[in-house]
Symmetry: C2
Subunit: 407 residues, 2 copies
Amino acid sequence: MVNVAILGFGKIGSGTFEFLQNNAEIIERKTGESFCVKHILDIRDFSGTPYADKVTNDIDKIISDPEVTIVAEMMGGSHPAYEYTMKALSAGKHVVSSNKEVVANFGDELLRVAEENGVRYLFEASVGGGIPIIRPMTNDLSGNDITEINGILNGTTNYILTQMFDYKKSFEDALAEAQEKGYAELDPTDDVMGKDACRKISILSALAYGISIHPDNVYTEGITKITADNVRHAAMMGASIKLIGHAEKNEDGSVFLMVSPLVVNGTSPLAHVSDVFNGIMVHGEPLGDVFFYGRGAGKEPTASAVVADIIDIVVHDGENLKATRWEKAPAEKIASIKDFRVSAYLYLDGVCCEKKVSDIFGEITLIEIADGKAAIVTAKMPEAELDAKIEQAKTAGITTLSKIRVL
Amino acid sequence: MVNVAILGFGKIGSGTFEFLQNNAEIIERKTGESFCVKHILDIRDFSGTPYADKVTNDIDKIISDPEVTIVAEMMGGSHPAYEYTMKALSAGKHVVSSNKEVVANFGDELLRVAEENGVRYLFEASVGGGIPIIRPMTNDLSGNDITEINGILNGTTNYILTQMFDYKKSFEDALAEAQEKGYAELDPTDDVMGKDACRKISILSALAYGISIHPDNVYTEGITKITADNVRHAAMMGASIKLIGHAEKNEDGSVFLMVSPLVVNGTSPLAHVSDVFNGIMVHGEPLGDVFFYGRGAGKEPTASAVVADIIDIVVHDGENLKATRWEKAPAEKIASIKDFRVSAYLYLDGVCCEKKVSDIFGEITLIEIADGKAAIVTAKMPEAELDAKIEQAKTAGITTLSKIRVL
């Protein structure tokens, strides 16, 4: 019998509880063990529910219970989740987590403490919901040189963008609908401004490159400025616009992270990730592209990932596992967006003719030119050079209405 | 230092050799070990090459070398690969394999012998080339109830179908081109008749359900009968036609396996798997759909999967792993295609009007009717009932030119 404590009994916490209960037979067949949720930490009142006798608001009751070997942290937010995780690991308990904020901000430290205490800190559920991505990157791709990651990591924004593309809704209408359906929070800032995706790409990048870049140091752009014109132009290109968490390793060993809306060509599987689904494309050498897709959020998928971590711990118990570790990236290893070579779709106003645009931007692909406005795609160049050209255009009377990078 | 023996120095064997060499630093960082390919088993003459001193045609030299702890079998074909695998496992050596034929036909026995000898038999490379699928199914989805698997598991046929759809080529022309490019063998029977895909879905199903159905007992249909009309009709439906390995579990616990061309709706990620890529959709409860995509064949991707298995063994060494096991399916657990509930696209000749067709087939969706021919999609019904209706149509003077099941 394996005793588990659940910290935070919200959607994912209760989903994990139900998963362990409903699929108990399958899990026991696979692991040879039965599982019991012995404690649930939550500050809310659950008296009168079937969980009442398990619920406590005292973390120390859990930490000091020697029967509890696995703690599942699904509280969300940095504090006190970080402190509780630290307590549990220091007390020699394994911790599994769905808390991307804690993993992205404190992963380096928590992984070190886990290793020092001979326990594991796993977080499959922190990225991509139910999609197996952390473990495949750790195990299956581990011999590869990961050169690039591009992920649709936030279901809310992907739902909004799908509505804008498939049903020609405005950003505002699509957001309102997402809120109505419960896909977006009442305060959607973390989602639509890209902060949620940023934490996730930060975690994937730390796994791939062994160095973590704090989300605050990642160039992050949301989807609030995308217009109906952008949607129309992308369709003309046979492309879609997706909010992408992007990580790449430069030849000098520095790592570049970014969250940004990107124009994604229709030939990429990423372009066909719709609604609240997530999709993550990883490029490894010599492997090539691999792509992972599934429900990136929600109670059941995320609980599935939490349970996978719990099973992993039990199945691999007593072994001398080579632990996952990463260190905080030193400043010189963090590449700046200024040096990022990118091609961009630009929507320009004040254009008399194509020549005037190409005189400034060089080689371009013209998507549309009408009524003094032009939609173009530039050649690849460093972001700083692109921005200088946009400034130059401005002095020549050409205003850039939209700039969306191209994947 | 971990000593590895490679059996079969073809594309995948040499790819594995090069991978271990070229990515040695990354692999050592992840595992804390260095790897040496000590022996290469091949009957060809490699004198004069850098490998000359490693090559042997004597399997017993490898089996009797106590320094060799991992044997990588990449010979292809059932014999003598099966016998060599058995020898290696019995001698207490771990075996990793890319040989789908051996895994599909003898997996139950080899997994048992591995467990009895306290070693592992891993075969990530046997399905989906470089796509992580075996390990995610074993680990990440292990708590889920897998209800259905649909996979594009053969790159050659997918390349041919892509050419037929995107460039309106005939099957024959597309096959000839695939052969020219080296994607198809000179004798393409195993690929185009679905035998290769059949071995792979048999392996995935054994993993998911714990019982293996021998490929000879799986309903298998190739892509040779797909015509330009079928391609045109699928496009009218906003769909594609893909060769799909399909597995599902019935409520009575029986398992149904099939390899067949299926009409795949454009909203499914499977519809967008092009060229030689593979894609595998797994439905788990409570997880929902997850989808894995990547290069399903080729030297580097397949070698990547072989190396992932080798790393897995080293990283998890000395632990008491709960081994993967499956048993041969008893006859009553193998569901017949006759009972499979399916909707189908039919192309019918000798049709005077829609009513005549719906009188026989019941509720239908009409795709096209012209010149006495009609393209329809039937409602879902057991395959036996569908075939009876097709017979009934025949007596009424309506010939079925094509029947392609719908996913």
